[in-house]
């Protein structure tokens, strides 16, 4: 099905280090034209470095990378003609208006005046920027700025687009709008390499997903294939005393207990049916529960499953979630 299509991005043994710190440790990628490929990983895994090398911003220490047949080191200008990049950090000119920013791109892409004007009108329409087009970009909200940023990337009709964490910091509504745009681009035959920290985003968008950890690819496949690597979710039951925990542990033989925290982890697919069955069992045996939390698989679990350790994301804003993931990590590791 896709075998007849050409590869758009190919890397072999890509390496990069800063001094003694190895950032990329031999990356092999093969991304088919017209597909969305997601590079997942925690901060510091090497996602941004990969994008910077592929977009000619950085030079690799070793290995090769080709974009639609052009080597990124030897023919950077040929590569630049074909690509568009929207980075993690906003790349708009704050002193210029949205329209002036787009005009700047049209001029730098060497579009003639009529083509440029038509393209800009299309993009302003497509990205819902009509109202703000003549206001300085400095006054834009985060979501608008990201939309303008992506619109600027698209002025030159790139064949390959790199999106470095395109939705980080966006509210759920803006995130969905961004997903919609990305899908529409892929439908037009553009190849997209996106990096993300969110499993859900990769799941929603990508044809193929690769996991990057400490500069190595630790897994690659379709979201479906990859999800089979992830252990299921679970329900966490919290108790007031040891007796409660003991009797619940007898009821749920497959569960993992944590005596120090007085919690019990019952495997569950996170669905209503399985939750009801857990509640029915508790009811039948008249066990009093102090608290309950449903845990669905997330990026932490994938990392856990693939590496056997929590990913140690230091900047996770939600402390409670972090602790929980860490704790279940220890449990699962000890269960092995």
């Amino acid at each position: 099905m896709t075998s007849s299509r050409k590869p758009a991005i190919v890397t072999t043994e890509l390496r990069k280090s800063y001094g003694a710190k190895v950032v990329l440790d031999g990356i092999d990628l093969m991304i088919t034209e017209g597909t969305i490929f997601a590079l997942l990983g925690p901060n510091g895994a090497g996602k941004t470095t990969t994008v910077q090398i592929l977009s000619t911003l950085l030079r690799a220490d070793g290995g090769h990378a080709r974009i639609l047949g052009h080597d990124v080191t030897r023919e950077p200008d040929a590569v630049r003609e074909l690509i568009g990049v929207t980075g993690q950090f906003s790349a708009v000119d704050n002193l210029l208006t949205g329209r002036e920013n787009l005009n700047l791109m049209a001029d730098l892409c060497h579009l003639d005046r009529a083509t440029g004007r038509r393209r800009i009108a299309e993009l302003i329409e497509q990205f819902d920027l009509a109202e703000a087009a003549d206001k300085p970009a400095a006054t834009y909200s985060g979501g608008m700025r990201r939309r303008l940023d992506l619109a600027m990337t698209l002025v030159g009709d790139p064949r390959v687009i790199f999106l470095d964490e395109p939705t980080t910091g966006l509210d759920p509504r803006s995130r969905r709008a961004m997903w919609h745009v990305i899908r529409a681009l892929a439908a037009e035959g553009v190849t997209i390499l996106l990096t993300t920290q969110y499993l859900e985003e990769a799941d929603q968008l990508a044809d193929r997903v690769a996991f990057l950890d400490h500069g190595r690819l630790i897994a690659e496949g379709t979201p479906h294939e990859l999800k089979r690597l992830i252990p299921g979710g679970h329900v966490v039951l919290r108790f007031d005393d040891q007796e409660g925990l003991d009797s619940a542990a007898r009821t749920f033989a497959a569960a993992t207990r944590d005596d120090a925290a007085l919690t019990l982890q019952v495997p569950s697919d996170g669905g209503v049916g399985s939750l009801r069955s857990v509640l029915d069992h508790l009811d039948r045996d008249a066990i009093t529960v102090a608290g309950l939390a449903v845990h669905t698989p997330d990026l932490d679990d994938v990392f856990l499953a693939l590496t056997g350790r929590p990913d140690g994301r230091a900047d996770q804003p939600d402390d409670r979630r972090d602790t929980r993931a860490g704790r279940s990590g220890q449990e699962r590791a000890s269960a092995r």
Binding site: Q52, S55, L57, V85, V92, D93, D107, H110
Partner: protein, 262 residues
């Protein structure tokens, strides 16, 4: 289109961007003109009577206005350089430079846009400051050709100092550093023949003053505007400007290509 056409087109685009920035942010330009104007008024109306008397037995405030204007013009150039370094450093801190680097454009166009824009801004400041100088008693005796030559000399030193300030803006890790680094340039006309003749200075200071690049430029300007002797100063001025331009151009280019990505 040929490479040269692209180079020209991209440089023009970047120049337009920089001119648009100046229009959106006029306070910077006004501040850059303000410094030399205040110094001019201070030196003519506060110190001018006494300093004028020091120029010769019949010297007065008007003589001093004539004497000090070339120095003030160089302060204008140095002050504009500070603005250039600031805007280059601000630009480099923005994500848009990374975007430019991933586009198939004439790479130095980012820098040439800044340089041409800044030279334009400096020349504008020079016109404004010359206007004020004329109002406070500056009365050059130059012919049209001499005026033209004086404008040429100013353009030359502006071009040189602008490349220097682009390099200083690139080498700065922050905008604050970029605003401080060119500061000594504003002091250079003081440590030269800008405000008083160098032969009134103690020997070590006089040696520095006589051999620093701004002195021959100021002496050439005086010669062109008032018909005083230029001598070897004309050649020295051209030489200094060429050396500064070439050195700083290569320096800025190396800094820019070093590729600060973040």
């Amino acid at each position: 289109m040929s490479t040269l056409t692209f180079a020209l087109r991209d440089s023009t685009t970047m120049l337009r961007r920089n001119l648009l920035h100046m229009r959106r942010y006029p306070s910077l330009t006004l501040m850059l003109i303000g410094i030399p104007v205040i110094l001019l008024l201070l030196f003519v109306y506060v110190f001018g009577g006494t300093l004028g008397a020091g120029l010769g037995p019949s010297g007065d405030r008007t003589d001093y206005a004539n004497y000090v204007t070339p120095g003030i013009l160089l302060i204008t150039v140095a002050s504009a350089a500070q603005g250039t370094a600031i805007s280059v450093a601000m630009d480099m801190a923005e994500g848009i430079i990374a975007r430019f680097r991933t586009m198939a454009i004439f790479r130095p166009s980012v820098l040439t846009g800044h340089v041409v824009g800044s030279v334009f801004q400096s020349m504008l400041s020079l016109v404004a400051v010359t206007g004020v100088a004329l109002l406070v008693g500056f009365r050059p005796t130059a012919t049209a050709v001499e005026w033209l030559a004086a404008v040429g000399v100013l353009a030359m030193i502006t071009f040189a100092v602008t490349w220097l300030s682009v390099a200083l803006g690139l080498v700065s890790k922050s905008v604050e550093t970029a605003s401080n680094l060119p500061m000594p340039l504003v002091l250079l006309p003081f440590l030269g023949s800008g405000f008083v003749p160098t032969d009134s200075m103690p020997t070590p200071v006089r040696l520095f003053a006589d051999y620093q690049p701004f002195t021959p430029v100021m002496e050439t300007l005086r010669g062109l505007l008032f018909g005083t002797g230029i001598g070897v100063n004309g050649l020295l001025a051209v030489g200094w400007c060429a050396v500064i331009t070439v050195t700083c151009f290569l320096w800025a280019k190396a800094l820019y290509n070093r590729g600060r990505t973040a």
